[in-house]
Amino acid sequence: MSHTFVLVLVVITALSFDFTNGFHDTGNAMATSIATGALPPRIAVALSGVMNLVGAFLSFSVAATIASGLVQTGDVTLEVVFAGLAGGIFWNLMTWLLGIPSSSSHALIGGVIGSTLAAAGSHAIQWHNLVSKVILPAIFSPLIAGMVAIVGTYLVYRITQQVAGSTRSHGFRIGQIASASMVSLAHGTNDAQKTMGVITLALIVNGSIHSSSSAPDWVIISCALAISLGTYLGGWRVIRTLGKGLIDIDSPQGFAAESASSAAILLSAHFGYSLSTTHVATGSIIGSGIGKRGAEVRWNTAGRMATAWVLTLPSAGLVGALAYAIAHFIGGDAGAIVLFILVLALGVTIYLASRRKPVNHKNVNDDWEEGQEAPTPAPAVA
């Protein structure tokens, strides 16, 4: 049975999620480059947007795996996908408002699992895969990336000991343009595919395409554009936390952190782990703080992030389940419309709330004060 109308809403919602995925994660690649001045803020987000766009077209090997490996696709309906996306968007927007770099991938996975649980019960979840492909990598990946960044940072400072400080900073700022671009490229490849996978799943569930089909071209192109546009708009709140909140970063550290991130993301993707670029980037940045002698890590901020990470899967899941309940209780097209309006209202509300303490390209690098994610006084925005 085909529900074209609901399908259209699901696709729009999925692309909206992809968009939030983009701006939530700009900081993973660009936060340190912006903080060290390697790239002017607006150039950085533009470069990252382009790299995400290119990355989204580079490889399609993991597109179908996100949902099909974690839930029994036979139990998935359009409503389930829709509600899952609502859960993902909710968590992405909330954490963005608070300036917390949490995982967009976990938000999506949590949402889909929550709505599937509500719809079909526990047997529809592939728990083993959830633990071995999502939860354990989420614990290991920031540790590994952090360790690589510690070693990289130590080596980089040791080797360039004789080079004058300003010269060194200048050289590594150039290096950062390359390393940050790599992270953006890897991000585009990884994360754009996750939404492609979800839309493809919706198309399969709806009977629009055959179950063994890969993502149609229009799905690939629209997902690539959505994530890259989101990246370009830049999640300045998250960029600020990553670039200024964890450590006071210098360009050699930023360079080492970004190199560690790209290596960890690309390697894990190679082994089929659906890991979060956010976790990796955070681990790397903290690592680069530990690796430099005399540098200080703000463990308070790191602790807040870690708490958000732990909460991401269950919270997005809860909202996903709730969204499913609402849509299912009302039923049919009306249910989908109500859910769509709720998501839209949430987006507008959070956007308005964010305007009260705006963080943008002008104040993103202001000095960090403990417990204060938005700098005051906030400059007026046009």
Binding site: L136, S166, S262, A264, Y273
Partner: protein, 92 residues
């Protein structure tokens, strides 16, 4: 089915260290080499690195050996990036 794929884990750690820490180190060697030949400046006691007040940000030190070593290092670094992109395209 096991919970942790140890085979993948150690490969990620080892290759991750080589690429994620090794390549930045190569880049750093390149920069050190380019900077060779510059007159030793007053070494700051606190940071341990040489700071020249007023002298701004030129990386080239003037040694031709250094230039060659530097060029080789940066080529290795760029080759690493190229391999990374190839790695993505070839279907991770």
């Amino acid at each position: 089915m096991s919970w942790i794929n140890l085979n993948a884990l150690w490969k990620i750690v080892v290759v991750g260290l080589l690429a994620g820490a090794g390549l930045p180190a190569v880049f750093a060697i390149g920069m050190w080499a380019l900077n060779l030949g510059r007159k030793p400046a007053t070494v700051s006691a606190t940071t341990g690195s040489a700071d020249v007040p007023g002298k701004e940000e030129s990386i080239l030190g003037g040694s031709s050996t250094g230039l060659v070593i530097g060029a080789v290092c940066f080529l290795i670094f760029l080759a690493g990036i190229a391999f990374g992109i190839y790695y993505i395209v070839s279907g991770a």
